[in-house]
């Protein structure tokens, strides 16, 4: 991909948990050397967006599975290493990670 990836961290209110997830995702993406713009929002606002990747808890990602080409479910928002593993696998599948 020849532009930064657009990544959306989602949660219920879109202010706290998703902000923490955004920080974790930024760290994981930096470790992978992926250029990306990460935003955080609530699940309702997410429905109007068209990101490349959505990250959230299963109770939310299950509602928006069709919204992005890559939807990643995480249960621990602070687990940078776990998210890095998932991102590496899913972005490689799409050819977005070289």
């Amino acid at each position: 991909m020849d532009r930064p990836l657009e990544i959306l961290a989602v949660c219920g209110v879109g202010m706290g948990s998703s902000l923490m997830l955004k920080m974790t995702a930024e760290d994981a993406l930096r470790a992978l050397g992926v250029e990306a713009r990460v935003e955080n929002t609530d699940i309702s606002s997410a429905r109007g967006m068209t990101p490349d990747v959505i990250i959230g808890q299963g109770m939310h990602t299950s509602e928006i599975e069709d919204l992005a080409p890559v939807v990643i479910t995480v249960s621990d928002f602070l687990d940078k290493d776990g998210l890095e593993v998932q991102l590496r696998e899913r972005l490689t599948e799409k050819g977005w990670l070289r």
């Binding site: 949660c11 219920g12 209110v13 202010m15 706290g16 948990s17 902000l19 923490m20 997830l21 920080m23 974790t24 760290d27 699940i43 959230g56 808890q57 299963g58 109770m59 939310h60 249960s75 621990d76 928002f77 602070l78 687990d79 940078k80």
Partner: protein
């Protein structure tokens, strides 16, 4: 400037009481209005137990218009852990609550808190031997408090 407050060995019969009692610490500290704790419960009722964002740790919060008066962070250790119904992260023994007067004022504080949590803050809060040490651990993580 971030308002911080802590409470140790807080009793809670269930997740609702845990959320109410944690958000009440922000009310007592003057950082949130009286309606804020109930709003924090509604967030979980309406959106699920996603606020349990890591093993044993919940981030209690609601929208600023529900009574955020200042940027505040509270840390509460429960006397007995409670179940939120989270598929992976139950039971919860440690709760952090935050409030903010508008949708942006908290971003710096929350980002700092996230960094600290990634760096092991939750375990330092759990290991604190008393309330004073609990407060000191939170204060160390939030230098502008």
């Amino acid at each position: 400037m971030t308002v911080i407050a802590v409470r140790d060995t807080v009793p809670a019969a269930d997740w609702r009481e845990a959320v109410l009692n944690t958000a009440a610490v922000l009310v007592e500290a003057g950082a949130a209005g009286a309606a804020y704790p109930e709003a924090c419960v509604r967030v979980v009722e309406e959106n699920g137990p996603y606020i349990v964002l890591s093993k044993g740790l919940a981030l209690v919060h609601a929208r600023p218009e529900e009574g955020g008066l200042a940027v505040g962070v509270a840390a509460v250790r429960l006397s007995t852990p409670v179940e939120f119904g989270h598929p992976d992260n139950d039971p919860v023994d440690l709760l952090l609550a935050f409030c903010t007067p508008d949708p942006d004022a908290h971003v710096g504080t929350l980002s700092t808190l996230a960094r600290a949590l990634m760096g092991g803050l939750a375990d330092r809060l759990r290991a604190a031997p008393d309330t004073g040490a609990l407060r000191a651990a939170l204060k160390e993580a939030l230098p502008d408090a």
